[in-house]
Amino acid sequence: MFLSSLTFYLFSSVAVLSALMVISAKNPVHSVLFLILSFVNASGLFVLLGAEFLAMILVVVYVGAVAVLFLFVVMMLDINFVKLREGFLQYLPFGALLGIVLVIELGILFLTDRSSNIYNNQTPLQPIVNEVENTKMIGQILYTEYFYLFQICGIILLVAMIGSITLTLRDKGGVKRQNIDSQNTVDASTAIEKKKVKIGEGI
């Protein structure tokens, strides 16, 4: 008990501190690195909750893939952060509004009775069988109860993917591309062409 609460406070405090550093670090690359630290600590919290599958998915998807590309972009772009900071006071009211809304929402969540849920206790949000490991639990509930929502998620991702491909696909003329199949099928009979050249004329 003592150890688990100790690890909880370790993970959560590092997560909150690194989240704070994300918005306060001067260097954008440092911000992204702190964001990654925050992700990793969040996945540690998931492990403490007993949701080890979610924890690993968080690391694989967000830290292993999304944040890598994020870091990639931030490193490549030459962002002038001093200029970005100039509008701080201008954007302050908007940011404060967002923060207040979030705090109110969290407050409502804490004050309401959490034993009742949106389905009025008819279908609990988690499978009743407790012995099943949570990878199986997620599978059982995701592909039965939430099957259509799951399919819609897939379609949204597909649309986003097609959209980003169309945005970046430019067919510039004059680009030489390698056709590996045609290269591999080349042999002496197709690669060499014999021509009779008349003396004094050339081809």
């Binding site: 003592f2 150890l3 260097n27 690359v29 440092h30 690195l33 990654i36 080890e52 599958f53 924890a55 690993m56 998915i57 690391v59 694989v60 830290v63 292993g64 893939a65 890598v68 590309l69 870091l71 990639f72 490193m75 490549m76 490991e133 949570n134 990878t135 390698q178 590996i180």
Partner: protein, 333 residues
């Protein structure tokens, strides 16, 4: 009660040492073995001065590197520059926590073992990106960019290969994956996936023919150009430790982990850890053999192989395997 915590803590520390120390020693011998095998391929002698047959060469090299001056470039981002090799090293050792060497010989037998390994190996790219960026120099930066794109691309097909194996096992626990191969090793029914996994493992560990992040003929030494002394040693150790880790992953997923090839008398008396070691050494030999045989890929060829060949093919195999398992009612559980 407090003593209980202390004792459990001490046992965990002892277990960690029992895994990490042999791994580090095997890294030293792997470097030696690589130099010897490459030398044999190229009709040279290889290291033969330090110790009998030059067997202590790696230890001499490590000693030499550590006693050198550690240079931190003045234009570099110092904290990230120092952190990068440490992260590489730690991540390449962290994966060993879930590897089952023999029945029950595992530090942490978690439910999602294979996901953990996949997560740790996908984090490995950070050490390289951070090193390349923090060096504040062109060649390391190019190496880091290449590595970021390369490792993300090949993770996709590794993920599909893992899904194919999991479909046949029905569990994410590594010990259960090994036990599911008691009738037949997955390398036989899933042979194309085994080959794809092996090639992707080469790309994931930045080994030849995919070592473009450290391509010495175009990028000096790639992402660790600016590193010297102890921080270079950490990169070196990390790279070879993750090579052994990926080989162990291949052995567990496809070559039956600690299981003997046939469950008959003289073979099944041999302890599981020996079978495991022999198989890992075999995969490592393949790594070195490939390095000695194939020329380096060009970057666009690498990307083409990852996205246009491996990804569609492994996706097709996931669908085909699941279709097969459902049709013949062979799904586990």
């Amino acid at each position: 009660m407090n003593y209980d915590i202390l004792i459990t803590g001490l046992i965990i520390v002892a277990q960690i040492f029992a895994v990490v120390v042999p791994v580090l020693i095997s890294v030293a011998f792997l470097v030696y073995a690589e130099r010897k095998v490459l030398a044999l391929i190229q009709l040279r002698r290889g290291p033969n001065i330090v110790g009998p047959f030059g067997i202590l060469q790696s230890f001499a090299d490590a000693l030499k590197l550590i006693t050198k001056e550690n240079i931190i470039p003045s234009g570099s981002n110092k904290i990230v520059f120092i952190l990068a090799p440490i992260i590489t090293m730690v991540l390449s050792l962290a994966g060993w926590a879930v590897i089952p060497f023999a029945p029950g010989w595992v530090v942490s037998d978690i439910n999602v073992g294979i996901m953990y390994l996949f997560a740790v190996s996908s984090l490995g790219v950070y050490g390289i990106i951070m090193a390349g960026w923090a060096s504040n120099s062109q060649y390391p930066f190019l190496g880091a960019l290449r590595s970021a794109a390369q490792m993300v691309s090949y993770e996709v097909s590794i993920g599909f290969v893992i899904i194919t194996v999991l479909l046949c096992v029905g569990s994410l626990n590594l010990s259960k994956i090994v036990l599911a191969q008691q009738t037949v090793w997955f390398a036989i029914p899933l042979l194309p996936m085994f080959i794809i996994f092996f090639i992707s493992a080469l790309a994931e560990t930045n080994r030849l023919p995919f070592d473009l992040p450290e391509d010495e003929s175009t990028l000096v030494a790639g992402f660790f150009t600016e590193y010297s002394s102890a921080s270079f040693v950490l990169f070196f150790l990390g790279e070879y430790a993750s090579m052994i880790l990926m080989s162990s992953m291949t052995v567990i997923l496809f070559l039956g982990g600690w299981l003997p090839p046939f469950d008959v008398y003289p073979l099944n008396v041999v302890p599981g850890v020996i079978w495991f070691t022999v198989k890992v050494i075999f995969i490592l030999f393949l790594f070195i053999w490939v390095r000695g045989t194939f020329p380096r890929y060009r970057y666009d060829q690498l990307m083409r192989l990852g996205w246009k060949v491996f990804l569609p093919f492994s996706l097709f195999w996931v669908v085909a395997t699941s279709g097969f398992l459902v049709y013949f009612d062979m799904l586990p559980n």
